[in-house]
């Protein structure tokens, strides 16, 4: 199956994806590729369609047109259930269960053993909270538990919706280091964020605004192309130049 010499197959392929939510066209016509084995940041302001794209990638979003393919399979199809890990925007764990009960359940669902559960616990640094109820954890701890519940399944593709929201700078740094480590193991990570300065942590960036791709490049390429000092500035310049070239569509 491996095509030696050729460019590696992208892990995620989105082709002319159109999504309408509540009568609003959130993604009018989106096409993009996510390369395998990298941390790809999906950046954009809230309302830009990041969560919708992520939901389409994991196959829980109703789609009006177009296709999403993950590891060669249609998004959400049953071979992917063992291969894709999904971390929702608000932590989706059972508040009335303890940390270890949550992990053991999600490990069991993914067909993994208790060893995977304790390894995941270790990765997100929650070992000291094993017996605590998830509802009693701090916001940051809950979102790390939610991440661990996706890691237990040993996914090849990990899709994370705003995993660093509300975390202090140290935890954010640790989390990005974990993402890099996971990508180093050959996994693909699609991580959304509305915090532009997290762009530098990614191998590659997808800048999204109003359901359209403004940029698809490495952080260095983005800064070079726009001549900006940081990602925030680069984003502003891209928005301005897009508004300049396509007058009448922006407000």
């Amino acid at each position: 199956m491996s095509t030696a010499g050729a460019a590696p197959e992208p892990a995620i392929v989105v082709d002319h994806l159109r999504v309408v939510r509540g009568g609003r066209e959130v993604l009018p016509d989106l096409s993009l590729r996510v390369p395998a084995g990298q941390v790809v940041g999906l950046l954009g302001p809230s309302g830009s369609g990041k969560s919708t794209l992520i939901r389409a990638v994991v196959g829980v979003q109703e789609v009006a047109a177009g296709s999403v393919t993950v590891l060669g399979h249609p998004a959400g199809s049953s071979p992917l259930r063992h291969l894709v890990g999904y971390v929702t925007q608000s932590p989706s764990v059972y508040d009335d269960l303890t940390v270890s009960e949550n992990l053991r359940y999600f490990a069991g669902v993914a067909g993994a053993g208790p060893a995977a559960a304790s390894a995941a616990l270790d990765e997100v640094d929650l070992v000291d909270h094993v017996g605590q109820r998830a509802g009693a954890l701090s916001g940051g701890q809950r979102s790390r538990l939610s991440l661990a519940c996706a890691l237990v399944g040993d996914p090849q593709v990990l899709v994370l919706d705003e995993p660093t929201v509300g975390l202090d700078p140290i935890l954010r740094r640790d989390l990005w280091a974990l993402f890099a480590r996971l990508a180093g193991q050959g996994r693909t990570l699609l991580v959304s964020s509305h915090v532009m300065d997290e762009a530098t942590r990614c191998d590659r960036l997808l800048l999204l605004r109003e359901g359209r791709v403004l940029g698809d490049e490495t952080p260095a390429e983005l800064l070079e192309r726009t001549g900006a000092a940081d990602a925030d500035d680069a984003f502003l310049r891209l928005v301005e130049s897009a508004a300049g070239s396509g007058r009448g569509s922006g407000s």
């Binding site: 063992h82 999904y86 989706s92 059972y94 508040d95 009960e101 359940y105």
Partner: protein, 244 residues
């Protein structure tokens, strides 16, 4: 569907229930308090012997309907359902897991309620008390199945709670508890024939009042199981993986 995943999910639901002792207390105590109250109201008459068995069929149904519809709605709104639907877990595993877990809780509830009715309130049971427990558990699982189905149509917890009177009260009024079903106007009698709670109350009443009632109660039990399976199948249709 997988037995392993169903049992795993049932275990998880029971663990959630165990983490909430107040709910367990309410599940076990409230039916007893209400039955005790009625026994006291009708003290010295034969009325309690008529409606007591029926109540043993009604309470597990109502309580489990409510508990299940709120529990599954929580699963939807907390995002855990969306996450589960991206895992190897199937919809049938989720439905059966819930039915199994609340069915197990219902066994405990039925044992306590029947024991309380017979030993404390002096309810006369002509038939088999064991079968009475079986029917009560079937009723509870029916309540769970309908609760799962109803929660598919509720977007908020307010709506979920409102489904209780909407789904349960008409059945309560027509099941023969207030007026025997044979005395109902013919249209209402026909309507009561297609409502599952009627069969639960028929079975309970037969078991309590007649010695050789096992066969007719068994038929009613089959009808209840049929309704349960249909509700579970319809309920799993409301668990849609892709949402707008």
């Amino acid at each position: 569907m997988s037995t392993r995943l169903t049992l795993l999910t049932a275990g998880r639901v029971l663990r959630q229930l165990r983490a909430d002792p107040r709910t367990i207390g309410l599940l076990l105590v409230v039916p007893c308090v209400l039955i005790g109250l009625l026994a006291w109201i009708y003290d010295g008459t034969r009325v309690f012997d008529r409606i007591g068995p029926a109540l043993l069929g009604v309470f597990p149904f109502v309580v489990m309907f409510l508990v299940t519809s709120v529990a599954t709605l929580r699963e939807r709104t907390s995002g855990t359902l969306e996450r589960l639907l991206t895992t190897p877990l199937r919809k049938g595993d989720i439905m059966a897991g819930y039915a199994l877990a609340f069915g197990a809780a219902a066994v405990l509830q039925a044992l306590v309620a029947v024991a309380f009715s017979v030993w404390v309130c002096g309810l006369d049971i002509a038939g088999s008390a064991a079968l009475l427990v079986v029917v009560a558990v079937a009723d509870a699982v029916l309540g769970t199945a309908l609760g799962l189905l109803a929660s598919g149509f509720a977007r908020t917890e307010f709506q979920a709670v409102q489904f209780m009177p909407a789904v349960v009260l008409p059945q309560f009024l027509l099941c023969g508890l207030i007026v025997p079903r044979d005395d109902l106007p013919s249209v209402l009698h026909g309507l009561s024939d297609v409502l599952p709670l009627s069969y639960a109350v028929d079975a309970m009443t037969a078991l309590a009042t007649s010695v050789d009632s096992a066969a007719s109660a068994g038929r009613d039990l089959l009808v209840i199981v049929g309704f349960t399976l249909v509700a579970l199948a319809l309920g799993s249709l409301t668990l849609r993986r892709r949402t707008p």
